[in-house]
């Protein structure tokens, strides 16, 4: 059997944003949640990873990031960033260039962390209204985004690909033979 995976859509969106002819200055950061890696994928590490990508897309790491680094390094063994500091920096860096954050499969993120991630995104949008956030997940997470973790101004789209997509996918896989498939 051949199926599409939701992360194919996320990666397609990421590549589209990166390859846009008019989007040379686009900063695009992505994150793919994995239920088997929930321990490592805390809200802190995830938001930190987004900030890392946005910061590294710039020619020079912004002063506010290096300043924070130096400040925290003063503590013996180094001190960790706070989520609120990451949110502030992401918001401020996103105000200087077109910035896109893409987070895939939010349902695979632990519930507590998901609440923190969504709240942080909401705060970042408040600081930088021009930022664009692309999210995927099962419908119940969509309900959260429209309900208890409400993010204002969210366009909801249901992924149910037209048949043509599925047929093309099957044809490609058949043409490539079994070597591209994963055997269970």
């Amino acid at each position: 059997m051949f199926f599409l995976k939701i992360y194919d859509y996320s990666s397609l969106v990421v590549d589209t944003l990166c390859d846009e002819p008019a989007g040379e200055d686009n900063a695009v950061a992505c994150f793919y949640f994995d239920s088997a890696a929930q321990k490592e994928q805390s809200a802190m590490s995830v938001l930190g990873a987004l900030l890392k990508q946005v910061a590294s897309s710039l020619e020079k790491i912004p002063k506010e990031v290096t300043d924070a680094f130096r400040k925290h390094k003063k503590f013996i063994g180094g001190r960790e960033l706070q989520l609120s500091e990451i949110v502030k920096m992401l918001g401020s860096l996103s105000s200087t260039q077109p910035t896109f954050l893409c987070l895939d499969a939010l349902d695979e993120c632990a519930e507590r962390d998901r609440a923190k991630v969504l709240l942080s995104l909401k705060d970042i949008i408040k600081i930088s209204p021009t930022i664009r956030v692309f999210l995927t997940g099962r419908p119940y997470v969509g309900d959260e985004v429209g309900g208890k973790h409400f993010i204002e101004g969210t366009a909801l789209v249901s992924i149910s690909p037209p048949n043509g997509d599925i047929i093309r996918y099957i044809q490609t896989n058949l043409a490539e033979g079994t070597s591209s498939g994963r055997w269970m």
Binding site: M1, F2, F3, L4, K5, D8, S11, L12, V13, V14, T16, L17, A29, C30, F31, Y32, E40, V46, L47, G48, A49, L51, Q53, A55, S56, V65, T66, F69, H72, L81, I86, A105, I125, I131, R132, F134, L135, T136, G137, R138, P139, V141, G142, G153, T154, A155, L156, V157, S158, I159, S160, P161, G164, D165, R168, T172, N173, R182, W183, M184
Partner: protein
């Protein structure tokens, strides 16, 4: 020069040890050409990307929901 480079990677690693671009590169190599293009053609996607929605339709966030069997299942 080396010191500057080292410092850059040290700062970035301090922000997060995770390397999501590696996962992205894995996925994009197995993605099938043209699949999912319908999503890029939707009005929702275009106005989200360009940020050119007017008033109420101006959306900073786009959420794509998929159920098991639609987008989440593995290829076998």
């Amino acid at each position: 020069m080396t010191a500057v480079t080292d410092n850059r990677s040290e700062v970035l690693t301090w922000l997060s040890p995770l390397e999501p671009h590696l996962r992205h590169n894995d996925i994009r190599t197995t993605r099938v050409k043209d699949v999912g293009d319908w999503l890029l053609r939707t009005e929702e996607f275009r106005s989200w990307k360009n940020g050119d929605g007017q008033g109420e339709s101006q959306k900073a966030t786009m959420f794509c929901s998929g159920n098991l069997g639609v987008g989440k299942t593995y290829i076998r």
